[in-house]
Symmetry: none
Subunit: 193 residues, 4 copies
């Protein structure tokens, strides 16, 4: 029991270290040796928990994505109206991007990069289903435009990554007011007017 606990701690420490290093300097500046050092572990120990670097990165991605979706849907249930449901999910995601920016930034870095292999990417997306279901409901009720989910995602959720990065990098502040405006833009872009 104690052994197992310790193991999970190390695994977590490794994943945390990976996220931290990747966030600070990008994937190309996150060597195994540094990850090990930051997790207070020998480089060899990493390979007790992960097959290789690719696996470590994939697993980290999947784990973070799981946290993300879990957070996103925590307040949602399908008895909400389409608009209520959408707002609930969207705001939770916005919240995640603001409050858990470590994880959010890591996910953003994974977005357009071939570092995560396709299998893990699919695995990561899997838990987004409730949102897709909500959209289908909205479409059939004539509330949401009858367009591809890819477009719906591109115009509602994805912009939040950009805004979070702008907040981190440039002068932009992703505060309450801006989030409200962003939500309005998101909803306006997909609702049937």
């Amino acid at each position: 029991m104690a052994k197992l606990q310790k193991s999970i701690d190390k695994r977590n420490a490794l994943i945390k270290a990976t996220i931290e290093l990747v966030n600070n300097n990008g994937f190309h500046a996150a060597p195994m040796s540094k990850i090990a050092k930051m997790a207070n572990v020998s480089p060899a120990t990493i390979y007790l928990y992960f097959e290789n670097k690719q696996d470590l990165v994939n697993k980290t991605y999947i784990e973070v994505k799981a946290k993300y979706t879990q957070y996103a849907f925590a307040t949602y249930n399908d008895r909400l109206t389409v608009e209520e449901g959408f707002e609930a999910i969207w705001k939770r995601i916005a919240d995640f991007k603001c409050k858990d920016s470590e994880n959010a930034m890591f996910l953003a870095q994974c977005d357009n990069t071939p570092i995560i292999d396709e299998t893990s990417r699919q695995e990561g997306i899997k838990h987004l289903q409730p949102l897709l279901d909500l959209w289908e409901r909205g479409k059939s009720k004539g509330i949401i435009k009858p367009i591809s989910n890819y477009i719906l995602y591109a115009y509602t959720i994805n912009p939040l990554s950009f805004l979070m990065m702008a907040d981190k990098r440039n002068g932009f502040q992703l505060d309450k007011t801006h989030i409200e405006m962003a939500y309005q833009a998101a909803w306006d872009s997909i609702r049937v007017n």
Copy 2:
């Protein structure tokens, strides 16, 4: 003159090679030696044209971004109405993402990554000014929502990167119909009701 011409050719070849390699396997799979080989040049020659790898990547980014903005504004002039102007620019950008996907994918990979340094990033954004001016015009005329340009960008232009990647990676097809739908979403998200 002939010498200079030759030089520009080599520089271009190097930039082209960088883009190609980064597109195929990401930044971590684009070593200087491969870039040199693909450009039919000695590794040492790269350092006649660029200070180091960081510089090569930065310059490549700036160059590609310049092509991108040049293409974006080619049909635009400020005598167009706000909506006409916006549509003109947006559609050109969409066009670029479809037709020059080599360059577009490279830019997408640079988006959320710390590989490009902040200075070069600013340099790349510089030429986007006409779009910002257009938005200001739209805002003052009450046509476009009075919100931060970051949000306007996030909800109109940025989604196109996501859709292009979806087209490259997943089943999604960024064709005429989808582009039209995306444009509608973009415009709906920022126009005053």
Copy 3:
């Protein structure tokens, strides 16, 4: 008693695993971890039975060499004539190389390699004494050439290793007929004609 029995089983399993792995890919592909796995034992357990890897390899060598000499002399007794005795031993050794090729191959790999330390090598040779005695008898009776035992060994026994490897690796078949021819060559090379 049960405990002790179990221990011997484990020791044997470890030695067997060592032989098997070394045979398959050579010494450099027989790490302790794989040996442990193949013997269904923890890596740490190896160190209860052997001091270190060198010791494991040495002991394996000695053990296999012991089996080899035991087999070689099983049908021999010193009341046989010199030629009968030589044939008996030689044919047993040839038999061993054919039938117990696992062990024979392992010994062959140890032959010209510095992996086995000199002490263990001497230890392994020790049981060959009856053959040396036979040779001395043959020499004193004028039946066997009065030459160094090293040469006698080199020209009678050692060639069998080469032929066995040729059988394993190349097209050569070390069958009944070839063994008979080899025996004739061996005997011809050392007998006083």
Copy 4:
């Protein structure tokens, strides 16, 4: 020209270092770093001359084997009688084992080991053809026993490796007298009495 010369020097130094290290402590104690150091070269430089460690070892083997066969046949021509020819070749090989023991020991270590891949092994054997031709001549003239070349090799040439190792390791002295005795044994083993 100077450049090319220097390159060949380095290649030779690397091969020499490989032989030396393998001879001293076996293959498992010849890491690339030590080979590089012994050749006064950076580890990275090895990879300018050889694809990888396997390639380095293979090429070293082929090169040494070539020197060996070249030396073996230097005094031979097919106008010699079968016995003269055999003695010429055999004695040259014995000579090689004595005088160029560095190379000879390296070859001995390669003999029963899977470190050299089969292709390189075949490549190494290729130049032995004149000996095989001589044997065929001897067989057709009824001078040499009509038996497999594998057996002829096992009982004439191969014992020399054993004797050389005995000379290096144990008390045995592979001197003139012993060589003469060994030759007699070799010839007796294959000649038609």
